[in-house]
Amino acid sequence: MSAHPSRRDLLRLVGAAAAVPVLSSCAGAPATQSAAPGTFTVYWNAGHDYQAYRKVIAEFEQANQVKVNLQKYQWPDLRTRLLADFASGTVPDLVEEPGGWVQEFAVSGNARSLQDFVDRDGQAMGFPADWQPVTVERNSYQDKVYGVQLHLTCNTLVYNKGMLREAGLEAPTTWEEFLDAARKLTRDGVYGVALNQDYTYMWPWMVQAGVTPYDLETKAIMEPRADAVAALQFQADLVHKHKVAPVPVAGTDYSGPQKLFSAKRAAMILTGPWDLDPIRKTSPDIDLGVAPPLKNKTAATQAAGVSMFVPAKATRPELSWDFIKRITALQVEQAATKETGMLMPRKSWVDLPEVQSDAVTKVFADALPTARDSSQEVRLTGQLGKWEEQLKVMYQQVLIQNEPAAEALDTFVKAAEGFLK
C-alpha cells in the first residue's frame, strides 16, 4: 500500500473496512449443513466428550444406520451457533444445553415438546419417575416435557485437607465458621478462599440466605432484600474487608479459583464436580476434601447441570429421542461417573456402588436434594438473557469493584422490574 493514498483511495478503503465487520456482526452465522439423510447432527459441549458417550454413539450409529456428526463447542459459541441456526431454519437433530435454555426455547417456540415420546416410553426408561424432581421441573413448560436432564451437579465446598489440618481446622459448616477458617488459612501468600468472577457462583450464598431470585406470582425480585444484600456483601467483604480472598478477575471463564487452588494459592473454593478432574490432573499431590454446602439460614446449594432438547424444526425427532434414551440409561450414567466423577440426575444413580463408595462423589450426591434452581421462574418470562446480563454487571460491581451491595442490588432490581413487567 502506498504511504500516500489519495482521499478517494482512503474513502474506498474506509467504506469497505467500516462496513464489513460492523454489519456482518449481526448478519448471522453460516448456515448449518442440511441434515443429510445419513447424518445425525448433535451439538455438544467440548468438555463432555466422554468415552462412555462415544460408546453409546457407536451403538446408536449401528442401530440406526446413521453417522453421528458430533459438533463440540464451548457454551457461548454453541448458543451463538444455535441462534443463527434458528434464524436460518436449518437446525441440528439434538442439542446439549448448559441449563436454562430448554424453557427459554420452549417459550420462544424453538424447542420441540417431547411429551408424546415421554407418554409412550417414559415408564420403560424410568422417566420422569427416576429423575430428581428439580430436573423434570426445569425442563418442562406448560406441563409438557421439552428436555431431559443429562447431568445434575451442584456447588459445594472443596478444600485442601493438608492446609486445614496444618491450621488445626475442621471443614467449616456455617458462614461464620467459613470466615473464621478463611482468616486462619490466609498467610504466606496463600488465600483462605478464592471466589469466582462468574455471577452464577453467587447463587449458593443466596439460597443459603433464603433468597428467592424471582417470584412469578408476586413479581418480587431478590426477596427478602435485606438477606440478599447481606449475602452479596458477605462475599464482597471476604475480598475487600477481610482480605481472605484475592480480587477475582473479570473474564469469560470460571476456572480462576480452580487454578489458584491447584497452585496451592487458595485453601478453599466453592465449586462443583467439573473442577475436580482439572485439580486431580494438575495437582495430584493435593489431598482433596469436599464438604456439604454451607449453612446460613438454611443448608442449600444451587442446582446445575446440563440437559438435552430437540429443536422444533428438527426433521427426525424419533431418532433424537432414541439418542436421548440411550445416553440417559443408568448403565451409561454409571460408566460416565466411573470415568469422570460427573454427577447424574437419576435417583437410582445415588445408590450405585460407584457413588456410595467414593467419598467425594457421595458428598455431592448427598447435597443434590438441597439443590435449588436459581433461574426457573425468570426463564418462564422469556427474559433470561437480559436478567443474566444485568446480574453479571451487578455481581462484578460488588465483588470486584467493591460497590456497596445495597446500591448495586437496588439498581439491578429497578432494571429487572423494567424488563420483567
Binding site: M1, S2, A3, H4, P5, R7, L10, L11, L13, V14, G15, A17, A18, A19, V20, P21, V22, L23, S24, S25, C26, A27, G28, P76, R79, T80, L83, F86, A87, S108, Q197, P246, V247, V249, A250, G251, T252, G256, K259, L260, A263, R265, G382, Q383, G385, K386, E388, E389, K392, V393, M394, Q396, Q397, I400, Q401, E403
Partner: protein
C-alpha cells in the same frame, strides 16, 4: 488506435472477468448488509414483527447503548493516539542505520499477524494478578503488584490492542519516512536545522497523508473492537469494557433481540462513516507540499 470503451465485445469480456468478484461481494457483503438493515426495522425473538423506527428510537435513548458508545470512544481515543505516537516513534527509531533493523521490524510486526484470540488469551494469562508473569516480575524486583484488569480495564485492553497493532502502523510510518526525499533534509542541515527541527518542520508535515491513513484506520478498528472484550474481560468488570460491538453481540446472541442489535449495528456504521469523513476533511487541510 481507438480507445476501448465499456461497450461491445471488450466490455463483455471485462464484465465476465469481474463476474466472480461481483457475485462474491453480492453474496457475502451486500446481501448481509441488506439483511441487517431489513432486520433493524423488526422486533421479537425471531425478528418477525414490524416495528418501523422503534429500534432506532430505543437505541438512541438507551443508557446501556450510550454507555457502551462512551466506553468505545474512550478506547478508540487511546488506540488512535497510541498508534500514532508509538508507531511514529518506533518508525523513527528503526529508520536509523542500525544493525539488525530487519529483525526489529519483523519482531514488531509478528503480533499484528497473530489472531486477536491468541493475543487475548496470552495477555489474559500474563496479566493475571495472582498467577501472571507480569506481577511475578514486579514482585521479583520488589515492586507492588497491580490489578491490571480490575483497576484500569479499558486502558489495559487498549494497551494490549496497541501492542498488537503498533507494528503495522510502524511499517506505514516507516514507508512514509523513506518516501521523503533526502534532499529536503540535506538542505535543512545546510541551513543549520538540528534533528528536532528537521523532524518537526519536514518529516512530520510530509507524513500528514500517512498520519491521516493511520488515524482513520485506527478509529475504524477502535470503534469495531470486539475480541479484546470478548476474550480478555468479558465486558467487565461490571460493564467497564462493554465495547459497542461486544454490546451488539450480546443483544443479538444473549438476549435474542436481533432487530435491536441490527439497528445498533447500522447506527454504529453511520457513526464510523461520519467520523471518517470528518477526519478526511480535516486531513485535507493539513497536507503540505514543498
Amino acid at each position: 488506435m481507438r480507445p476501448r470503451t465499456l461497450y461491445g465485445r471488450y466490455a463483455r469480456t471485462a464484465y465476465l472477468f469481474l463476474l466472480p468478484a461481483i457475485l462474491f461481494f453480492a453474496a457475502f457483503f451486500y446481501l448481509p448488509i441488506g439483511n441487517v438493515v431489513a432486520t433493524s426495522f423488526r422486533t421479537g425473538p425471531m425478528a418477525d414483527q414490524w416495528t418501523g423506527l422503534g429500534n432506532y428510537t430505543q437505541a438512541v435513548t438507551d443508557p446501556a447503548v450510550q454507555h457502551s458508545f462512551l466506553v468505545t470512544a474512550g478506547f478508540s481515543v487511546m488506540v488512535v493516539l497510541g498508534s500514532i505516537v508509538l508507531g511514529l516513534a518506533l518508525a523513527l527509531a528503526i529508520d536509523q542505520p542500525l544493525k539488525g533493523r530487519v529483525v526489529f521490524r519483523v519482531v514488531l510486526l509478528v503480533p499484528y499477524l497473530t489472531s486477536v484470540a491468541i493475543v487475548g488469551l496470552l495477555w489474559r494469562n500474563i496479566l493475571d494478578p495472582e498467577l501472571g508473569v507480569l506481577n511475578r516480575a514486579l514482585m521479583a524486583v520488589g515492586l507492588p503488584t497491580q490489578q491490571w484488569l480490575n483497576t484500569a480495564p479499558l486502558l489495559t485492553i487498549a494497551a494490549v490492542t496497541l501492542w498488537q497493532s503498533v507494528g503495522y502502523t510502524m511499517v506505514l510510518f516507516l514507508a512514509g519516512l523513506q518516501g521523503i526525499p533526502e534532499t529536503y533534509h540535506e538542505a535543512a542541515r545546510i541551513d543549520g536545522a538540528d534533528a528536532w527541527h528537521r523532524f518537526w518542520r519536514i518529516s512530520l508535515p510530509l507524513l500528514a497523508p500517512t498520519t491521516l491513513f493511520v488515524s482513520v484506520m485506527a478509529v475504524i478498528s477502535g470503534l469495531q473492537a470486539f475480541g479484546q472484550a470478548y476474550i480478555i474481560t468479558g465486558g467487565g468488570p461490571g460493564d467497564a469494557t462493554d465495547l459497542s460491538v461486544f454490546h451488539i453481540f450480546n443483544v443479538a446472541f444473549r438476549t435474542r433481540d436481533f432487530g435491536y442489535s441490527s439497528a445498533q449495528s447500522v447506527l454504529l456504521l453511520i457513526v464510523i462513516v461520519a467520523f471518517t469523513l470528518i477526519q478526511l476533511r480535516a486531513g485535507r487541510r493539513s497536507e503540505v507540499t514543498y
